[in-house]
Symmetry: D2
Subunit: 319 residues, 4 copies
């Protein structure tokens, strides 16, 4: 048997450590691993090459993905999936390790049912929005990049009397925003999952400003679309000149943290062991309360993602 790895959807900082472990572990098992470049687009276009040790030397500390990734519309059409299958078959590849989010896993699920291809999915997205799962590769690095940027913004915020509104990525999910707000000591946090009592916040913060508070830091999840609203709110209700900062794409980059490197290691070894043994194939590996599980894509899609109460509980104590 032969296994190929591919990335799909948005990139995340855990991808390169995972790719390195994939190559090292596959060779250790006597396998000859393959790379599929540029995601499902590259799978369709036969951008497939044998992976070597040299390819993955010195990549552990790099953000992004050395094999690229893509969002593919063509893969929704059966004709292109057939092409993809031919590309794999002609090279003797029968299994895929997929780093991505649930859209990618759904595509793989369809593909594996149509053709004789096994796959394992590893949740890899800074949005941390996969159901039945606590941790997606890349989240810890993104959180520390946000911390680092916020430390810098706080330098300038604390020098003036000012409000600062920081917009955080995460699509419909507020995890990245909430965890950052708690870790960075924000006064306000606006996420899709929680209905913040702004009139209470107003009362508390006005009191604090009267007692000497100089600046107010507010984190807003992009999914709420309330960034500009909160800028106005602080200016009007708290009477503070306010600036906004959209952190944007720096949140997707950065040297993977130790946590992301170790998690990449564990996810990949389990994924390959499944594919080699034929157990738990065509599923997604998840991580909950310190243990790894396998779920088929149906279970994941039919469950809805819930933000951890450990994070939302903490939000009650900020401000």
């Amino acid at each position: 048997m032969s296994i190929a790895i591919l990335c799909s959807g948005g990139d995340a900082p855990g991808m390169n450590p995972a790719i390195k472990r994939f190559v090292d572990y596959a060779y250790l098992k006597g396998d000859k691993p393959y790379f599929i470049y540029d995601g499902l687009e590259g799978l369709i276009d036969a951008q497939i090459k044998p992976a070597t040790h040299k390819d993955v030397s010195g990549i552990m500390h790099k953000g992004g993905s050395i094999i690229g990734t893509s969002r593919s519309k063509r893969f929704f059409q059966k004709s292109y999936r057939e092409k993809a299958y031919e590309n794999l078959k002609s090279r003797g590849i029968d299994s895929l390790l997929v780093l991505g989010g649930d859209g990618s896993f759904r595509a793989m699920d369809v593909f594996s049912k149509e053709f004789d291809i096994s796959f394992i999915g590893i949740p890899t997205t800074i949005d941390n929005d996969i159901a039945l799962n606590d941790y997606c590769l890349g989240v810890d690095t993104a959180l520390n990049v946000i911390r680092d940027a916020t430390d810098k913004i706080r330098d300038t915020a604390s020098t003036f009397r000012r409000g600062f509104v920081i917009e955080i990525m995460g699509r419909e999910c507020g995890y990245l925003c909430a965890a950052s707000a708690v870790a960075c000591g924000a006064e306000l946090c606006i996420i899709p999952e929680v209905d913040t009592d702004l009139s209470l916040a107003e009362r508390i913060l006005l009191e604090q400003i009267k007692n000497g508070r100089k600046y107010v830091l507010c984190f807003v999840a992009e999914g709420t679309a309330k960034t500009d609203y909160m800028v106005e709110w602080i200016e009007k209700k708290l009477n503070l000149e306010t600036r906004k900062s959209v952190l944007g794409y720096i949140q997707r980059g950065g040297n993977p943290t130790v946590y992301d490197r170790l998690m990449a290691f564990e996810y990949v070894v389990r994924a390959l062991n499944s594919l080699y043994s034929g157990k738990n194939i065509n599923s997604v590996i998840t991580y909950r309360n310190g243990e790894f599980f396998y779920h088929n894509i149906g279970e994941i899609v039919s469950s809805s993602y819930e933000i951890s109460h450990r994070i939302t509980d903490m939000l009650n104590y900020i401000g």
Copy 2:
């Protein structure tokens, strides 16, 4: 009731976030919190002051501890513990939150049995060597500091044909060393808990060097006292000019990571809730598989620390 916080033993990067949460949460609960400066030494010498919001403003990103810490020999003598008790009693303090390791918790256990003082201990040491516990505050930050230093050493190592031996802290415990070795892609890792098969390593590495490997990175836990031995071993067996780097005290410093900040938050809120409710007092909070537990010091001392198999399993695949 009134609660004071103190640090004891070696410092660790999670201390300041924990101190900040202690102050914020105590005030939120209507309590008036206290600081004990310079650990048990300061407790004996009455270096005790009310804690204010201002004291903890802007400390989240600082390593070390703003209230200091110490190792106290005097506290082993009852006369000094009596003095310590008087210092607390005269200020109306009846509870202590202690950030430290098991030596500190044992001292607290004795103290709480002799006098009418409650305590909760939070495992805080980069050595990660508390039994029945997966995670001590400070470990994640230390791991990322080591990663960062290793990235720099690798720059120069890969420029020459060379061996590099990096000595890692952790006293008798190899956790920090093993996790770093895996995360940084070391070829060799020597820790107290595992008997590395050096003749196998020699065979594999000589083969790799023949095939083009230019440098060899070896992590050694200080507890093994084998740093110099491994320098010689690489020079002699692998015939590579070899340098050593003792990372030393930089491992104790650094801006606390998001993981350490969030764990500090959760540990402290649980500790204070215990002290306020009188439940689970005179114990140490531990964290295993994503859940928090309370153990009395007897359970912890009578158990022996075991390094997580999740880490040692990974060691089988490096090199």
Copy 3:
């Protein structure tokens, strides 16, 4: 005589090292230094306190300014300047050390002519836009913050086929943008001082894309207001999906680099020596080709800032 320090206008990462040197050197000379908090606003409102060693302990690595800064409209009115003068006189302060830009220096110039107050100005702004001067405090730190952010953006840019447009601060001045573009290896750089030949760039980049270039990085100075234009230009002319990233306020923060710390030291020692000796007072210290000079504000205002040809020369070779 007694000297006070104040910051004025936008904050910059060299301010705290300068403040620390001011206090240390003034005490060394037997003087009793003062802080004026919150810039000219604080000067009007008598936010003036004796500066202590304790105030400046452990501030060298902090961005922003521990004494705050402001932009003051009131200071344009003579009545408020009279109030400012009374505040200084009543405390026996006769000299001011001012960290700021040329607007602040002009205000000081007026003030020193009306009242018996001496001042020295130190160019301090990440915009690097003071005439007759190569280097403003804060620039080196800002450049390295931008480098660090760009490294992260490049991670994700290189993972997709994409254009990336990064907007850089600097008001009307393109220095920060040009130096960053060269240092980060950008393909395109748009600044107010240079007329970029976009049709040449189009030809070269299309050729490179044909030969395998996957992504294009474009730096735009905020003063050109061409950020959105360049996003469209890349999408249309180079046929690459393109994202923009406005780095914003992170550029003003961050741990001051060694260069900024040493320059702060040298600027401040010279400034204090002038005030103590009465030589070259009521002027701005500038730095050109490795030497320090004194200019009265008239010379600076009547000269126009010119971006260093050393930087613009390098722009000819990027892309």
Copy 4:
């Protein structure tokens, strides 16, 4: 004509940006550049390859040198230099760009006199010890790596009552140590070029300790061999428990700063322009007071390196 680049001696963080500029600029000029791998050893052993744009893509942020470096004893023998010459001649290479220190430049000087080979040397060493020159590539990065490590050590130093002795690289030269001591706010600095008055320091520091100073930071240049002496001195004279930290090889690594990247750019463009025009060949480019000069190796060797008085002047004010 054809030009090759090589690194020689210890590595320094400016090497990769210089290598990238070399390749980009040579192609821009229509030249076909070459790499010589592993320094003079590789020159002898014919490790010479055409350099491509792909080789230097994404290397700007890497410490070390992607083409390696070495210290060569064989090159002292004429027979090996003949071999080296043959290797160049057979490939049509007539010019060398050499990144290294004065030992390497002397070797080149001999080589260029014996054979028909031109060279230009660019001072590249974190030791900053080239005569007639203010700045060697790599120094700014090394200084900021030291600053970063010292920030971490200060975290733990300030938590205990302690002395800390930090040993800094630089061989016989104290520049790196002195600049770091000033920038990091050390109390003591021991370098080869200055005779520190320790009895004065003792008096001042004892006074400060009496007034509340908790810790003492001492920087020692490796060239003085006084690290252990200063540990004992602080323990005995200042009565503080003292730790030492030998920063070691992390000082050679790290993402090149903007300053090093820009200086690399300017050095390389000047070097190539010389080789292309035949002007100032067989010399070393130096940088003084903001300008570039050319010196033949004789001038440099017959001058002795002097540490900048700008740095040693600052030492008078620390402590």
